[in-house]
């Protein structure tokens, strides 16, 4: 019998620090004033879910966008633990802001590459002056093969050295062609990070040759688009190997921190449902006094409490660069995405007819939860990763 050998469990800090609680309070109070459910619904119906004012305050005043960016690049020099707290609050509000694209994966990709262009862009992102979206499908998962890259079709308008001799190093502007589907938050982004066959490129979203075709997305709060490049100019940020490694790291962070968004979302659903069942009367009793409903909510509470431990473990493992971070992230994703969907589904069901209406915000959470369960890898994909890391191979 082979020796069981899952990677050893590092000591994790699963609590919240005082500074993290202060950050939470600041984000929550901002969202309460600028991003209540009615405001989110109104923005969605207006066809422009992103709220640039909210983003500026969140990014610039609170400094949330630059948590992962080192201080010397104008960021907070904080860690995934703090970013996770922000995402819990954004999930609780189903806030339509590009945090999970611009402030996490895009930022991580740039941090994984070198060079002055990356540093400049990170400064802009950290300050909230610009928003950046990785031009990758939202469903792209850690450990999954990257999609076929966009093609490098020649030297760009500014000339530059280009990848001289075909596919070497060098900086400068190149023209790019190709298309990527299901890109989250592309419409609201100023810069797209594009993986081409010759490396990673920053493409100005409003430059000639770039089209962003909005898709009708299940999740109204995280808009999707197809990004098509037709001879669009891109500034080269990294060679293909560096780009792929940076993207792999960014997908891991994104998946790990998505668990915190899912936790916040599930917490909102549970709290709203409990509040509803305490006050709503049927059969001359509060609904919450019926044992069948109490048991459902108690089980859901236990799921949410467990999801908190899993999400916190992922954030802490990413923050400390723990050797078993990929396993901890896979565990968090395999667990939390199901809890978020269950919480949103229970929220709709236990609100009865109210839960099926457009006016009640439960549907925003259900749609976000279901889309989140596909984002950055399904639970099944992450269980497959667990099988690899924990050495529990398939038959």
């Amino acid at each position: 019998m082979s020796a069981p050998n899952p990677p050893s469990a590092a000591p994790l800090d699963l609590l919240y620090s005082e500074a993290e609680e202060e950050l939470r309070t600041a984000v929550r109070s901002l969202l309460a004033s600028r991003c209540d459910a009615a405001a989110v619904l109104a923005r969605i119906e207006g066809g422009a879910p992103h709220d640039p004012v909210l983003w500026r305050v969140l990014a610039a005043d609170i400094g949330a966008a630059g948590l992962l960016v080192p201080e010397k690049l104008g960021g907070q020099g904080a860690s995934h633990r703090e970013a996770a707290v922000v995402l819990e609050e954004l999930g609780r509000a189903a806030a339509p802001v590009p945090y999970l694209t611009s402030a996490v994966p895009a930022t991580e990709i740039l941090l994984g590459c070198d060079g002055a262009d990356c540093a400049d862009l990170l400064r802009e992102l950290a300050a909230g002056r610009r928003v950046c979206a990785p031009a990758l499908p939202l469903t792209l998962a850690p450990g999954a093969p990257l999609p076929a890259p966009v093609r490098d079709t020649g030297a760009g308008p500014g000339g530059g050295t280009g990848p001289g001799g075909g596919h070497g190093g060098g900086t400068g502007t190149r023209t790019l062609s190709g298309s990527v589907t299901s890109v989250a938050d592309a419409a609201g982004a100023d810069v797209l990070l594009v993986l081409a066959d010759t490396g990673l490129y920053a493409v100005q979203a409003d430059s000639p040759g770039v089209s962003r075709t909005p898709l009708v997305a299940l999740d109204l709060t995280r808009p999707l688009a197809t990004v098509t490049l037709d001879g669009a100019a891109g500034t080269r940020l990294a060679d293909p190997a560096t780009a792929r490694a940076a993207i792999a790291g960014a997908l891991l962070s994104g998946a790990g921190l998505l668990a915190s968004e899912q936790l916040g979302l599930a917490e909102w659903c549970l709290a709203q449902t409990v509040a509803h069942l305490r006050t709503r009367h049927q059969f001359n009793r509060p609904l919450g006094s019926f044992q069948a409903l109490k048991h459902r909510l108690a089980r859901l509470w236990l799921d949410v409490a467990s999801a908190r431990a899993a999400a916190r473990a992922a954030a802490d493992a990413l923050a400390t660069g723990a050797p078993d971070a990929p396993l901890t992230v896979a565990v968090a994703q395999a667990y939390c995405s199901g809890v978020a969907v269950k919480a949103a589904e229970e929220c709709v069901q236990l609100h009865g007819g109210i839960g099926m209406t457009w006016e009640h915000p439960a549907h925003l959470y259900l749609k976000r939860a279901k889309a989140d369960s596909l984002a950055l890898g399904t639970a099944g994909h992450h269980r497959g990763l667990v099988a690899d890391f924990a050495e529990l191979p398939s038959p």
Binding site: A298, A310, R312
Partner: protein, 400 residues
């Protein structure tokens, strides 16, 4: 040494003095334990003279680590768990000085094992409905005579003493007419019968009480106040979880994962999916327990403790069920149906069939999962209690 003065450094010094005066290698086990108790290092948060020093409870870890490093004998907490976890804190909270001095020392040393005479055939989850009667004896000394039947009593066959709740006034509503006693298991009229379970072994007992005399000096708390005393016992029953660290892939998932790795011929795709789901859930339950432990250490206990028993009961049942299936033909077999009387439950030392059957008790013992879900719903989530009509009725008028 006063409470305010007790520090970790002082406890460490005191522990080393104990070890120097009574070297574990050359001291008899019970002599060492007696000396440890008398040095106030048994449970440091208990008062001086009762095995403690009035120190913060968290400092016990300092003592335990030092003693463990010196390979000092322990008092076998698993064997005397009911006494340590339930009888002792209740005696400390409600006992007279005389009762504390009489009972706590032999309890902690393990010279006297305790059991708990609470549950009855007609009063399990609805514990306050109990019908065991205690009436004043005719001799006029104020002593009591107890008649009734208890069930699910762990350790009754090894116990010297029992904590007992009995009804002293059937005319009062069910929570009011109860009194709490310390019962001598060697007294005439106490009969212990093994209760054979679905595993084939008799880990528990039925206890029949027929005209058992209990002196009034062994009453704990006031007459009729037994329910309040019992609540102290029950709260302590649920406190113990969360204190221990489990390694990744510890507990029930370990033997299944080992079988999966070691025996590729047993693997199927459908079992693989279930195994991975349960492996993830076991890891998340481990992390939730770890988070609870960190909250306790930080002095901010979260409500997670209320849920941990629910989580482990479900997981243990599902994992052990999967294990039996995974084993194929071997899963059709059972190690041994011979009646045994184990002193402790040993999940890992037995086969998969035993684990599967024994885990069925995890959602029943110590509060059924249904009762615990009510507790979470009402005390953690603040949902209203179900309407009930038994609170103001005399016990004797309740339907049975």
């Amino acid at each position: 040494m006063t409470a305010a003065a007790v520090t970790a450094a002082q406890l460490l010094l005191r522990t080393r003095e104990l070890l120097a005066a009574h070297p574990p290698a050359t001291t008899a086990r019970e002599d060492f334990l007696r000396a440890r108790f008398d040095a106030g290092l048994a449970w440091v948060h208990y008062p001086e003279g009762l095995g403690g020093l009035g120190a913060p409870r968290t400092l016990q870890a300092v003592v335990d680590a030092e003693l463990e490093a010196a390979a000092a004998p322990d008092n076998d907490p698993r064997r005397i768990g009911i006494g340590l976890g339930m009888a002792a804190p209740t005696i400390l909270a409600y006992g007279t000085e005389e009762q504390k001095r009489r009972f706590l020392r032999p309890l902690w040393i393990g010279e006297e094992v305790w059991c708990q005479l609470f549950s009855e055939p007609g009063a399990g989850s609805d514990l306050a409905a109990l019908g065991t009667r205690a009436v004043r004896a005719a001799d006029g000394d104020g002593d009591w005579v107890v008649d009734g039947q208890k069930v699910w009593t762990s350790s009754a066959h090894t116990a010297r003493w029992a904590i007992l709740i009995a009804r002293t006034d059937p005319a009062l509503p069910k929570h009011q007419g109860i009194t709490y006693f310390l019962c001598d298991m060697h007294a005439p009229g106490v009969e212990v019968r093994p209760l054979r379970q679905i595993t084939g072994e008799a880990e528990f007992n039925e206890v029949f009480l027929t005209g058992v005399k209990i002196p009034d000096a062994h009453r704990l708390g006031e007459v009729g106040q037994g329910w309040a005393v019992a609540r102290t016992t029950l709260m302590n029953e649920r406190v113990s979880i969360g204190g221990m660290r489990i390694p990744r892939e510890g507990g029930m998932i370990a033997p299944v994962a080992a079988a999966w790795r070691g025996r590729p011929e047993l693997r199927t795709h459908s079992l693989h999916q279930r195994l991975l789901e349960l492996w993830v859930e076991a890891e998340v339950a481990r992390l939730t327990g770890e988070r609870l432990r960190q909250q306790l250490a930080a002095g901010a206990p979260g409500p997670e403790g209320s849920g941990m028993k629910l989580a482990f009961a479900r997981l243990n049942q599902e994992i052990s069920g999967l294990e039996v299936e995974l084993l194929g033909e071997e899963g059709l077999l059972y190690e041994d149906w011979t009646l045994r009387r184990p002193e402790i439950v040993d999940f890992t030392g037995r086969d998969a069939g035993y684990r599967y059957l024994r885990a069925k008790g995890n959602s029943i013992e110590g509060g059924t999962s249904e009762i615990l879900l009510n507790i979470v719903a009402e005390r953690v989530l603040g949902l209203p209690a179900e309407p009930r009509d038994d609170k103001d009725l005399a016990w004797k008028d309740l339907a049975r």
